[in-house]
């Protein structure tokens, strides 16, 4: 088994502008994902808006995210799975994959064991 981080990116404005119904649909999508993934989900959280971020670089502390892009990191899951195909199949269920403005990035977590 290996660990993978699923990073959920999307247009912050579109997320902020969701109606109550859209919000509920999104949450139902995540509930379905969690149900399918079961105990393979080790952790997963939605992040506050990128405007609430603080970035530290050499000698400076600034407001905002590390990368100023239209598509911001909105949340993540830490998954444990046998291989990349298993993660691709599960992550494909996330509602952000089907929405036009967002998507997910799958990154293997380095194994130091």
């Amino acid at each position: 088994m290996a660990k993978y981080l699923i990073l959920i990116y999307g247009d912050e404005q579109q997320w902020a502008g969701m109606s109550e119904r859209e919000r509920l649909e999104l949450e139902a999508g995540h509930a379905a994902f969690r149900a399918a993934a079961g105990d393979r989900v080790l952790d997963g959280q939605e992040l506050e808006a990128p405007g609430t971020a603080t970035t530290l670089r050499l000698l400076t502390t600034t407001d905002g995210p590390f990368l100023e892009t239209k598509e911001a990191l909105g949340g993540y899951y830490l998954l444990q799975a046998a291989d990349l195909d298993e993660v691709i199949t599960l992550a494909g269920m996330l509602p952000e994959v089907a929405a036009g403005h967002s998507g997910v990035e799958i990154r293997p977590v380095r194994d130091h064991g």
Binding site: D83, L84, D85, I88, T89
Partner: protein
């Protein structure tokens, strides 16, 4: 047959199977490649002494796997650099053929298209890194680095050595077919260099197509792609004259087309079209079949060809398909109509450096006897073409319209 020829043939026919069966054991692509290469080296010696075995593939696989077991035993305690490949879980039945797992690893969507092509040629077709580098006009060191990076990603991201689950199969087969088609196209008209054709790439692509058809016999897209490759390759002996000069489809000696290969291609296409509605490669194969079965250029059913391009545009919209359709319109309705059909494509950015657009315009202008604009279009086409055989053809046409 000499021993060297027998080993060479076994390399062409059995390499992917020997390697795939060894990967299953080592779960390490580099080690498996090394052991498979060792087995072929040993075959050269042993077969010379004892004769060629009845089943060369089985002999090579056994030797390669023994070699792998030796190495694994010796190095069991050494710390490994890369994690082992993920293979199918123990409770799943073994697949009929490991080669398919190898193909799906090489063409995994998590790898770039360049890496997919390089890995497929190296691991499935058994080309050396130098040969792959030459085919794609990059330095051998660049190609070696590309292959190493891809192998590292396969191990690190745990791209599994197995056939995808049924829900993902269609999408994954699509990527494999695109890789095979790309290899064929690069071989059929080499993008640069002295020869028109890269025979090794064409043979590699057709070999891959045949292997996929054998392993996935019920997949209509696989069948259609194999049909397409066979139908186009059937014209191979007539595309250049004895002096190595380009001969256009219009002027080829159709009696020298490979009729057996055409019959096989048409039969495969018919089978594919019976099974499902046509796919991109199915329609492309149908276009190739219309040409293959036309008694002459003049007697070609251009109405049918234009209709097939219309269908292809719906399935696979692309500026190159629009260009081919415009050319077919010109052949159906005359050069003025062809020129009018090409006009909207002149502003298409994707075709800005596409030499065939200029060449097609030049030909229609030439047939309208508009010599000046035809010459300019041939000059443009020449500036955008790097294949020596095609350049020679365009230069000859340019000289002839300039004389008029």
């Amino acid at each position: 047959m000499s021993v060297a020829a027998a080993v060479e043939e076994a390399h062409r026919r059995e390499w992917a199977g020997v390697l795939a069966a060894t990967v299953r054991l080592t779960r390490d692509l580099d080690l498996a490649e090394e052991c498979a290469q060792d087995a072929y080296a040993q075959a050269l010696q042993t077969w010379g002494r004892d004769g060629v075995p009845e089943r060369p593939g089985a002999w090579l696989t056994t030797v390669a796997r023994h070699r792998a077991l030796d190495v694994l035993r010796r190095e069991a305690l050494l710390r490994r650099v890369l994690p082992l490949l993920v293979t199918r879980p123990a409770h799943e039945p073994a697949p009929a053929d490991d080669r398919l797992s190898l193909v799906f690893v090489c063409c995994h969507p998590a790898l770039s298209r360049e890496a997919q092509v390089a890995l497929t040629l190296r691991l499935v077709c058994g080309l050396s890194t130098a040969e792959v580098a030459r085919a794609f006009l990059v330095q051998e060191s660049t190609m070696a680095a590309r292959v190493t990076r891809a192998k590292k990603k396969i191990a690190t991201a745990r791209i599994p050595f197995r056939v995808p689950v049924p829900e993902r199969l269609a999408e994954r087969v699509g990527a494999v077919l695109d890789v095979v088609h790309l290899v064929f196209t690069a071989g059929h008209t080499a993008p640069i260099g002295a020869g028109l054709v890269r025979r090794d790439l064409v043979a590699g692509a057709i070999g891959l197509g045949r292997m996929l058809h054998l392993l996935l016999p019920r997949n209509p897209e696989v069948t259609a792609l194999l049909a397409l490759l066979l139908l186009i390759d059937a014209r191979r002996d007539t595309r250049c004259d004895a002096g190595g000069r380009l001969v256009l489809l219009a002027d080829q000696d159709r009696t020298r087309w490979d009729r057996r290969q055409i019959a096989e291609g048409v039969a495969l296409l018919t089978e594919a079209l019976h099974k499902s509605s046509p796919s991109r490669y199915g329609v492309e194969a149908a276009i190739a079949a219309v040409h293959a079965e036309a008694p002459s250029w003049a007697a070609t059913d251009w109405q049918e060809i234009v209709g097939l391009y219309d269908l292809l545009l719906r399935l696979w919209p692309s500026p190159v398909v629009e260009l081919n359709r415009a050319v077919a319109v010109g052949l159906r309705d005359g050069p003025a109509a062809g020129l009018a059909a090409l006009a909207p494509l002149l502003d298409e950015p994707a075709l800005a450096t596409y030499g065939y657009l200029s060449a097609a315009r030049a030909d229609f202008l030439r047939r309208l006897e508009r010599w000046g604009p035809a010459a300019t279009a041939y000059e443009e086409a020449l500036a955008l073409t790097d294949n020596e055989v095609e350049r020679a053809f365009l230069a000859e046409r340019l000289a002839s319209v300039r004389r008029l």
